[in-house]
């Protein structure tokens, strides 16, 4: 792979993570984005390209639109460090992005839709 002359990435570098294995490149996420921050991948069927990461406002619309849930919203590092919770009993500290993750809490939201 070549070494290229590339400008600094601005702002949060990665706002969305795509699961390349399952993404079918349908581009529904590209089209639902209110701020049009992505473009389709020139290669058909591949995950889209986030072109304007700093214009993303983290609404999560793309995540909800994805038919196979192949997108994760990536909380920027600065924010990951401020989302801290503790276990009331043990006092152990956790956060988004922690090294040894807890098992997910699978309780669904309260709604009937």
């Amino acid at each position: 792979m070549g070494v290229y002359s590339i400008p600094n990435q601005s702002g949060p570098c990665r706002v969305l993570a795509f699961d390349a294995e399952t993404c079918i490149g349908c581009n529904r996420c590209v089209n639902v984005c209110p701020s049009d921050v992505m473009i389709p991948n020139p290669e058909k069927g591949k995950e889209p390209i986030v072109l304007y990461a700093e214009e993303c406002w983290f609404c999560g619309g793309c995540v909800q639109e994805c038919p196979i849930r192949a997108i994760t919203l990536v909380t920027p590092a600065k924010q990951r460090l401020s989302t801290v919770w503790i276990d009331k009993k043990t006092g152990a500290e956790y956060r988004i992005g922690m090294k040894d993750p807890l098992p997910p809490n699978t309780t669904p939201p309260a709604d009937n839709r």
């Binding site: 209110p34 919770w85 809490n105």
Partner: protein, 666 residues
């Protein structure tokens, strides 16, 4: 993947994926044109269509998710006519006027009071859950057993509802398309077209540029509604820093204001500004421990588990969970939170919040940081209603908060969520729910909007407004959707009784030349750099304290920026062109804000408006000041009573006016 990864992996720069056809004209004709397809615009479209109008919506984004309301809602305000409410539309409007000393929109608050509940019932028909259908919260103090409605803030008066609104925008969007509105997406509207191309004349359409193809759109309509949402980017602009903390998206450029200002409409409250959260240094909204708004009712404990009490606005501490949701003043009601009402003036209407002496107590060693939001100690229903209902449905919460936190194992039954550490003054704005950290006093957010009548019509014939932003000093779902629904009706009635007028070719040609200049000029200024410069001028010359002389300097600087750097912009593709047009429009809007500030020759605390050269707040200046651009490009201003909506030519009573102008079906 992001762009850098793609380039590193392939060694190729991706070509712009859409055909680029700068200047290609598209003509779109309708009875009613709606500029901005947020919740207000979509509701306007639906109601205009239901009145038989041919409706076109032009939206900057994609209407399924665009706008402030695109990512959900948990509190529905203003539905005071729900069957459980003890608040009347009159009480609601009068309380709003009282808390702001009249510097709000008494008439819109009344309309919202009258029709907010009907609007919500229609929203339910569109597919949004507004009741505890599965009886999950049966027996909870938040629930009315008969209607299964769930209430927030004030359980005595029951007018603000908790709703399951994560999918509200997709539902409203689907209904808009179902009833047959034509939606044009990715259009950045750049100007209004007026009869004969003249300032101050009837509005007969608009122009726009497509954010993917760069094509030019000419919209012709008999009446037009502006519903473009709030204005950001004017004082406070830092996209590289703001990350997920933002309550605002970059599409909120205030273009809906600028196009009206340029067309000669009158504006009010342009001098009313408030502090902003400091973009780039805060937290993601709702991601840190707090006990306000969506989290209201949680328990708060300190490092040692010591409970922090809630207090009413008078500082009286509250001992019970029920007490948090009750006004302490006999016969009063809480208006609600986050709907642009100044509770300092009318504490009786303010919700119950944290003990105001908490930070004194920290300094005295009575409490130790950090504080935590503690949902473990709540009953199951109280915990679920906050975490699984409110946090799962509030704007920008379903994915970034609820799904993200639970994916990482957060469990409100076991875990305490940490507050930011630091002095209260660091995050005095709205108590840590909305990305706190107050900005410096010269970073402001404006509250100005169009001067409107009882039909939500502006001072330009054929031009109506709805929603957050274009309607001055407003801001919530219930209001935006209700005002949208009302304005749609009014615009359809206007269009029914009037002929279409062909736009002036010269006006179109001039706008076209302006819009495509950045594609031709061999420029060296990008859209962001221009926007940063705009923000610098606003911070320096239109901060908290102002004088005639420095405002004049600011206006000069802004016009200079527009004429110099503004003529040297570069763009790489249509997306950047649309952003550049927004940045250019901010120059004009900045001037409008400074003209508004110049027109008020007195300081005013409620307006957050301070002049060194006119430090007094005099009775003579207790009025609205309306400003506009005249045909000769001068600025004219005049005073209006704050309750102009109850003065001639209107009736002196709210209900009489509503009956006279609303054309309601009910």
């Amino acid at each position: 993947m992001n762009w850098h990864e793609y380039v590193n992996a392939t060694g190729k720069v991706p070509e712009w994926p859409y055909p680029v056809r700068y200047e290609k004209e598209n003509i779109v004709t309708s009875d009613v044109l709606i500029i901005g397809g947020g919740v207000a615009g979509c509701r306007a479209a639906i109601s205009a269509r239901q009145r038989g109008a041919r409706v076109v919506v032009a939206d900057r984004g994609f209407t399924k998710r665009s706008g402030s309301g695109g990512a959900g809602v948990d509190h529905w305000h203003g539905a005071v006519r729900n069957p459980c409410s003890k608040v009347t539309p009159r009480m609601y409007s009068e309380a709003a006027m009282a808390t702001t000393d009249g510097y709000t929109n008494g008439l819109v608050r009344y309309i919202v009071g009258k029709e907010g509940w009907d609007t919500l019932l229609e929203t339910e028909q569109m597919g949004v859950q507004i009741r505890d259908e599965t009886d999950e919260f049966k027996g909870s103090m938040f629930r009315d057993e008969e209607t299964k409605l769930l209430f927030a803030y004030d359980l005595e008066n029951k007018h603000c509802l908790r709703i399951y609104g994560a999918n509200i925008k997709p539902c409203v969007d689907r209904e808009m398309r179902r009833v047959g509105c034509d939606v044009y997406e990715r259009i950045c509207v750049t100007s209004l077209l007026t009869e004969g191309g003249k300032k101050g004349a009837r509005v007969i359409g608009a122009t726009g540029v497509h954010d993917r193809t760069g094509e030019f759109y000419i919209f012709k309509a008999k009446s037009v509604i502006v519903s473009t949402g709030k204005t950001q980017r004017l004082w406070c602009f830092a996209p590289e820093l703001r990350e997920s903390q933002s309550m605002y998206n970059l599409d909120q450029s205030g273009m809906g204001h600028t196009i009206g200002w340029r067309a000669g409409a009158e504006f009010v409250l342009m001098e009313m500004t408030g502090p902003v959260e400091l973009t780039g240094t805060g937290y993601a909204p709702y991601s840190t421990g707090n006990n306000n708004n969506t989290y209201q009712g949680v328990s708060v404990v300190d490092k040692n588990g010591k409970v922090v009490k809630y207090a009413d606005a008078y500082g009286n501490l509250i001992d019970t969970e029920e007490g948090i949701f009750k006004p302490s003043q006999e016969g009063s009601f809480f208006i609600g939170w986050g709907i642009a009402l100044d509770h300092e003036r009318m504490p009786a209407h303010r919700i119950n919040l944290t003990d105001p002496n908490l930070w004194e107590k920290v300094r005295a060693g009575e409490y130790e940081q950090p504080f935590y939001t503690d949902m473990t100690s709540l009953s199951k229903t109280s915990r679920d209603i906050i975490w699984r209902l409110m946090l799962a449905h509030e704007g920008k919460c379903r994915v970034p908060i609820y799904e993200q936190f639970t994916a990482w194992g957060f469990d409100p039954k076991k875990h305490l969520l940490q507050f930011p550490v630091g002095d209260y003054s660091l995050w005095s704005i709205d108590c840590a729910w909305a990305n706190p950290q107050s900005g410096p006093a010269n970073w402001r957010a404006g509250n100005g909007g169009y001067l409107i009548d009882w039909r939500l019509r502006t001072t330009l014939p054929g031009l109506f407004v709805a929603g957050d932003g274009p309607i001055a000093s407003q801001g919530c779902h219930g209001e935006s959707q209700t005002a949208g629904r009302y304005a749609g009706r009014q615009a359809a009635i206007f269009a029914r009784d009037i002929d279409a007028i062909e736009p002036d070719p010269e006006q179109i040609a001039a706008e076209k030349a302006r819009c495509y200049m950045p594609t031709k000029a061999k420029g060296d200024i990008g859209w962001k750099e221009l926007n940063y410069a705009v923000a610098r001028i606003m911070q320096d010359y239109c901060g908290e304290y102002k004088t005639e002389h420095t405002l004049d300097m600011g206006i000069r600087r802004m016009k200079d920026l527009l004429e110099t750097e503004g003529k040297r912009m570069y763009v790489s593709n249509p997306h950047e062109l649309a952003r550049a047009l927004e940045s250019l429009s901010l120059c004009e809007l900045g001037v409008a804000y400074m003209e508004g500030a110049k027109a008020r020759k007195a300081s005013n605390k409620v307006l957050g408006f301070y002049r060194y050269d006119y430090p007094e707040d005099t009775e003579e200046w207790h009025k609205l000041v309306a400003i506009k651009q005249t045909a000769a490009d001068a600025v004219a201003s005049r005073g209006l009573a704050v309750d102009y909506h109850l003065q001639a030519p209107y009736a002196p009573d709210l209900e009489d006016n509503y009956q006279r102008y609303s054309e309601s079906d009910r």
